[in-house]
Amino acid sequence: MPVYGLQTFKSDGTTIVLQNSTKSGVFGEKYEYAKTGTPGTKPAVSFPQYSGRTIRPMQLIPGAHSWSVSYPGGIPTITFIENQPIAAGIPQFYYDSTVLYIFVK
């Protein structure tokens, strides 16, 4: 059992939360990138609030973009590339905003 982390106790001395053996599970934010209607690489989105940290974006609601993470100057940055538009909407095909749930390590 690792010895780092946080351990809190009830008044009777029993442990009530053990937060010392897990991977990082801090939830930073839900980030939504709207579709612009113009395909191509978009200006990079920086997250200076997580500077010096590694982020793990979870693709829970995909949209009309592919994306990648980089760390210029240690600042987590996500670059979105908007795909070609399509004329007609197809109900089963998610093709609008991209929503990432960003976890911070």
Partner: protein, 1292 residues
């Protein structure tokens, strides 16, 4: 990142907790209801091979927003899970699609469980110990009393199916470290793929589905949408991805940290697909319709199919591939078999569903016929023409037919060969098997010989064999003719003209003729003529030259060459035409101008003409004034009509002598021709005059004068003014135009400049007139001054400033050095005139600003003065805000007092709190000396911490503050927690109440009756920790699903539980088709047990009584699988005893309580009987209507009645029936599986039928049996019946 707060980092430098960000906390678990919400069978393009079932959870009851982690049940089956979303919020529900393989046995699978983790509003806790963290916005981000999301594994290398072009390809696996009961945060992904077709395209949408096998998470794409669009797509394949496909994050956690999964079990029946056709056996030229019948297939689902066993050419309607589109679970495809001309034998049309096991076979009989050929009635042909005879073919698709010429029938004259004509159609490739034909073309040479009619015939060969016989005789008609020539033209031709000559030639088509003359003055436009028909006529143009006398010319038509045989001629006369001359109409012209007259001629080739001026026929002669410009003209070498313009001019003198006249004379070959009289108009004029006249010789500044212009000419003339400037004459222009009588008026500017006298000069630009006026300088020198009444003044005193000038008009001024407020609000700018007095009062303000200097100056800078303001202001002002207390609790009050030595009101502003914090008092206002502001601090229930009330004057001269102590109460919390979300009748559940409030709270139950919860009360009171336990009554009434809802009467908490109606009515049974009385040995009978509401009931059937051992029952036990009213059939067979027995009673008993009885007839067993050695059919095969004979041979003589059971069945295939002579129809024979049972009693000399089928006549002959007369009937070909091995018993 923030620099304050609490952050916990592990020794991998990873964040475990950061007070600025949420630590997701477990909120609740959601299970999917095992009830299938919707179901959809797979098809070719919709999740092929998988049945799709939809499941839903109940709604989310916890407040806030959540991310969802899923259990993925460990399975070895071909079962996959697709989640609509992994995010939700309060009031929402979650949807799951299970894709289960539907090609094999029905599958049972476990449904996943969703674990919701709060990410916006962490669960509340009533615990008073532990650790809570808040971010800068005051939002709770961590609570040690919650169970945090503790990742077991985080991977960022998750990749969906690697081949984006493959539909539903192999799964992609990723091995992850995971606990025994893992839950997963799964990425989502969809793709749209478009595939090009010739004139349309297909659109597919794929989604990702998941499953788990041990520690391997697998994903695979599944088609969830399909559309066949009717317009072309430019690319072979186009892929649109929604989201990343690779490098995706996936989080694994341990479900045991939160709550054990309790998923239900999913199952269902696989869909059915059945192919049928309107016929299973057909012939060429007919049509069949194949129907696909399905279950649970969505409308517009496609099923692609492929046909094998035949070729495309075998179909005239329908194709070898196609797609069924399902509507209302059915779709059809119709095929028509070509009635071709190929003998390919019987074919089996096999239609198979692509990617599925279903197919159907249809036998197609070959009804083809062979090819045939023939010649139609022949057509005659004339020499020089073409003709044809029609050749016909049927059923000869693709055959090459060769045509050739043969001699005529006997007695006719044959053609000579190629010299008499040619066969133009040598071969023909037949297209199609339908009756078709070709016109075989030939031509006959148009010779000149008259040889009479000739003849020939045509033959055709295919594959080296003559077909269609020989055509009839084809007659060549002799149409040969003799040659003839002629020339025709008018007799007299004028010189220099062109004339047509008509050339005619008969029966010389294709030859060239030549045209010549005996005189070079006449020439043809072309010396050759090409004859293009046997009745040729053409006009050729000839040109005549210039003749000096009438001349005869012979035109010849020749053959061979220009010197060949003259075959026709024409003589014409070339006429010499006389010359002619004349003048055109004359016209008058002016002195100083030019004129002309036209001289005309014709037929005057090479003539010379001289011109001269001669006296007129009347009037004053102007010959001396005329200059003749055209004195001679030479006519060219042409007789064409022409003319020449003779030009002349007259001098422009100044003498007025009146009109004059003259004529032009032309002389040719000694003859003279005259024009008419030509008039010279007299236009002479006198010399021009110009003058300027001034109104005065001199003028003072401010005075006026005029200039008058006169001329004897009508035109206008430009002028220019010099010696002055435009400003000197009021801005008037210095240039312009004047005409006779023009008057120019000027005003001399009265300026203030002393520039001395000026000289106004005006002159015509042509220099022919001018005059001048002297301007006297009368200007004055200007003067300006400001005079102040005092040099200095105290605040509160007054002074004046006086303005003087020798100039008229207003003058602007500006005051500087002070402000308007310093002089009682007087303006700092204005206008003054000579003598103006400006009075000012100096303001006695309270500001100590020091000495000020009042400066006033003209805006033109010509005058100014200054007055000194002495500062006599009062003492500086004072301001103060004083609070009654330094701090106050919520609910308390305080006041603020304002003091100042200044008069008037002063604005103030309150910050650091909100109006609601001071009982709605305004945060702004005004105060004056002595004002007291009183405030009451709101006693709210929100815990917002200490607040600081700050009040400040808007002029910044005073401020103060009061501290608000936060004495708010903690908000009341209430919750009702159910032990289960749904319960079956007969089950139980509990409701637990929690609150942080003391006392009891009343509740009310709705949606059910007291009887539904075992008589428990629907109302009551509870306090913190109360647990209400309920048992759901297992009644027998089927009232449907009920919803138990319990709610606090104060409306602060509620929950509900679903009661599943599991009631059933008692089963009921009765027996049908039973019998009674005596039943023979060896007889099989059937009865049924009718059941209702008996699903799952196990039933056993048994016999009792003395004859029970002689009865067999099938089935002897079974389980009823439906509640519907159903007949469960049971067979009872009596057997022959091996020893002699009397009649015996039997009772058939059913475990459900029913029974019936009958008696088995007595039976005596005799000695041993002969055995059957063979059964011989009297024929190998039978035709419809033919009698079927079978001979049964025994091992020895039949000495006693012998009981024979035999069976006559049809062999081979199809719908073969056997009927007895009584007309009873047996079951259809199918490869020996059907037929008739025959039961016979055979004696030594006779036999008789006992049943069940009547074989008709029976003959017994010395140990042989001839059982007649079974009759075979069939709808198809002949079939072969046979007799199965019989059994027999001796009957006494």
């Amino acid at each position: 990142m923030a620099t304050y707060g609490l952050r916990i980092i592990n020794d991998d430098s990873e964040l475990l907790i950061d007070s600025e960000y949420f630590s997701p906390a477990f909120a609740q678990k959601l299970e999917f209801s095992p009830t299938v919400y919707s179901e959809e069978a797979g098809s070719t393009y919709f999740h092929s091979g998988y049945v799709k079932r939809e499941y839903r959870t109940s709604t989310v009851t916890a407040p806030g927003n959540f991310i969802v982690m899923w259990t993925l049940p460990d399975t070895a089956d071909d079962v996959w899970y697709n989640f609509e979303t992994s995010t939700t919020s309060m009031g929402g529900y979650l949807t799951l699609w299970v894709y289960a393989n539907s090609l094999g046995a029905n599958l049972t699978y476990t449904l996943p469980t969703g674990y919701l983790f709060a990410i916006s509003s962490l669960p509340t806790s009533s615990e008073t110990y532990g650790l809570r963290l808040f971010n800068a916005a005051g939002t709770k981000t961590f609570d040690s009393n919650n169970v945090q999301l503790a990742p077991y594994t985080i991977s960022d290398s998750f990749t969906f199916f690697e081949d984006p072009t493959g539909p539903q390809g192999l799964p992609t696996s990723i091995s992850l470290a995971m606990p025994t009961n893992p839950i997963f945060m799964l990425p989502n992904y969809t793709a749209l793929r478009i595939f090009k077709r010739t004139t349309s395209h297909l659109e597919f949408v794929y989604e990702a589905m998941f499953r788990r096998q041990g520690t391997s998470v697998q994903t695979k794409e599944v088609q969830v949408y399909y559309s066949d669009e009717d317009y072309a797509w430019p690319y072979t394949q186009t892929i649109y991805n929604s989201g990343n496909r690779q490098g995706l994050g996936i989080i694994v956690a341990d479900a045991n940290l939160y709550a054990a999964p309790g998923a239900g079990t999913g199952t269902g029946t696989n869909p059915q697909y059945q192919l049928t056709s309107t016929s299973t056996s057909t012939s060429e030229g007919t049509s069949v319709t194949v129907t696909l019948t399905t279950q649970n297939v969505a409308n517009e689902s496609p099923f692609a199919y492929t046909v094998t066993g035949i070729s495309t050419a075998d179909l005239t309607a329908g194709g070898l591939t196609g797609t069924f589109i399902i509507y209302n679970n059915s779709a059809t495809a119709t095929f028509t078999f070509a009635n071709d001309y190929l003998t390919e034998g019987t074919e089996i049309f096999k239609l198979s569903l692509d990617g599925m096991s279903q197919f159907i076979d249809i036998t197609v009989a070959d009804t083809s016929t062979s090819a045939s050929y023939s010649w139609s009635t022949p057509g005659a042909v004339n020499e020089g023409s073409t003709g044809f005879t029609t050749f016909n073919a049927t059923g000869a698709n693709g055959k090459t037919v060769l045509f050739s010429v043969v001699g005529p029938s006997a007695g006719l004259t044959s053609i000579s060969g190629s010299s008499d004509g040619a066969l133009l159609t040598g071969s023909w490739v037949v297209s199609g098997n339908a009756a078709t034909s070709i016109n075989v073309q030939y031509s006959a040479v148009a010779d000149a010989a008259t040889e009479g009619p000739e003849a020939f015939r045509l033959i055709a060969t295919v594959d080296g064999i003559q077909v269609g016989g020989t055509s009839g005789d084809i007659i060549v008609n002799d149409t040969s003719k003799a040659a003839g020539y002629s020339l025709a033209a008018t007799d007299n031709w004028n010189e220099s003209e062109s004339y047509p000559v008509t050339v005619s030639a008969n029966n010389v088509n294709g030859t060239t003729l030549y045209l010549t003359t005996d005189n070079a003055l006449v020439t043809p436009s072309s010396s050759t003529v090409s004859v293009t028909s046997d009745t040729f006529i053409s006009n050729v143009s000839f040109t005549a030259g210039i003749a000096t006398a009438n001349t005869a010319v012979r035109i010849s038509l020749r053959t061979g060459s220009t010197s060949g045989t003259e075959v026709a001629f024409k003589t014409i006369t070339l006429v010499n035409v006389a010359s002619s001359y004349s003048f055109g109409t004359t016209s008058a012209f002016n002195e100083g101008a030019s004129g002309s007259v036209q001289f005309n001629y014709s037929y005057a080739a090479n003539k010379s003409v001289s011109f001269s001026v001669v006296a007129p026929t009347s009037g004053l002669s102007g010959v001396s004034d005329v200059t003749l410009n055209t004195t001679s003209f030479a006519i060219g070498a042409t007789n064409s009509a022409g003319n020449v313009s003779v030009t002349y001019s007259a001098a422009a003198d100044t003498t007025t002598e009146g009109a004059e006249y003259f004529r032009i004379a032309a002389t040719v070959d000694g003859s003279t021709y005259y024009s008419g009289d030509i008039t010279i108009n007299d236009t002479s004029l006198a010399a021009p005059t110009y003058s300027f006249t001034r109104s005065v010789a001199s003028v003072n500044e401010g005075g006026t004068f005029t200039i008058t212009f006169n001329s004897n000419l009508a035109s206008s003339f430009g002028y220019t003014i010099t010696g002055i400037e435009s400003a000197d004459i009021g801005g008037a222009g210095l240039t312009g135009n004047v005409s006779n009588g023009s008057i120019l008026s000027f005003t001399v500017t009265e300026d203030s400049a002393t520039e001395g006298p000026q000289y106004f000069n005006i002159a015509l630009n042509n220099g022919l007139a001018s005059t001048s006026v002297t301007f006297n300088d009368t200007s004055l020198t200007p003067s300006y001054s400001f005079t102040r009444s005092v040099t200095s003044v105290n605040e509160g005193s007054s002074f004046s400033v006086t303005f003087n000038t020798n100039q008229a008009g207003n003058f602007g001024y500006t005051i500087t050095g002070i402000e308007s407020a310093d002089i009682g609000g007087a303006g700092l700018t204005g206008l003054v005139t000579n003598g103006s007095v400006l009075s000012y009062s100096v303001t006695a303000d309270s500001v100590t600003e020091g000495t000020q200097y009042f400066n006033i100056a003209l805006n033109n800078g010509q005058a100014s003065t200054t007055v000194t303001f002495n500062d006599t202001s009062l003492t500086p002002p004072t301001y103060s805000l004083t609070t009654s207390v330094g701090s106050v609790n919520e609910g308390g009050s305080f006041s603020v007092t304002f003091s100042t030595n200044q008069a008037g009101s002063f604005g103030y502003t309150i910050t650091g709190i909100e109006s609601a914090d001071i009982s709605g008092a305004s945060l702004t206002g005004t105060v004056s000396n002595g004002s007291v502001l009183s405030y009451s601090v709101t006693a709210d229930s929100s815990t917002e911490g200490t607040q600081y009330f700050n009040i400040s004057l808007n002029n910044g001269q005073a401020s103060t503050s009061v501290t608000f102590n936060d004495t708010s109460l903690t908000p009341a919390t209430y919750s009702l927690t159910r032990s289960v979300s749904s319960v079956n009748e007969g089950g139980s559940f509990s409701i637990t109440f929690s609150t942080n409030q003391g006392g009891s709270f009343s509740y009310n139950i709705s949606g059910v009756a007291s009887a539904d919860i075992a008589g428990a009360s629907l109302t009551g009171t509870i306090s913190n920790g109360s647990v209400l336990n309920y048992s759901v009554t297992a009644d027998s009434s089927t009232e449907g699903t009920e919803y138990f809802t319990i709610a606090l009467n104060n409306g602060q908490a509620s929950t509900s539980v679903t009661f599943n109606d599991t009631s059933r009515s008692p089963p009921s049974y009765f027996l049908g088709n039973t019998w009674s009385g005596t039943v023979n040995n060896g007889v099989g009978l059937n009865f049924y047990l009718n059941s209702t509401n008996a699903n799952g009931v196990f039933v056993s059937v048994y016999a009792t009584g003395a004859g029970a051992g002689r009865v067999s029952i099938s089935p002897s036990s079974f389980t009823i699988n439906t509640d519907a009213s159903t007949q469960n059939w049971i067979g009872v067979t009596t057997s022959f005893p091996t020893t002699t027995v009397p009649a015996q009673d039997v009772t058939i008993n059913v475990s459900t309580g029913q029974s019936f009885s009958f008696t088995i007839a007595g039976y005596t067993v005799a000695g041993p009987a002969p055995t059957i050695t063979s059964v011989v059919m009297t024929s190998g095969e039978y035709y419809p209507g033919e009698t079927v004979d079978a001979v049964i041979n025994f091992s020895g003589p039949i000495t006693s009645d012998t009981y024979v059971n035999t069976r006559l069945t049809a062999g081979a295939y199809g719908s073969f029936y056997i009927t007895s002579t009584t007309g009873a129809v047996g079951p259809p024979g199918g490869n020996g599986t059907g037929g008739e049972n025959i039961q016979l009693i055979i004696g030594t000399n006779s036999a008789y039928y006992t049943g069940p089928a009547n074989p008709g006549q029976l003959n017994v002959l010395n140990a042989t049996l001839s059982a007649r007369t079974m009759t075979g009937t069939a709808t198809g070909s002949q079939r072969q019946p046979y007799v199965t091995t019989p059994t027999f018993k001796v009957y006494t």
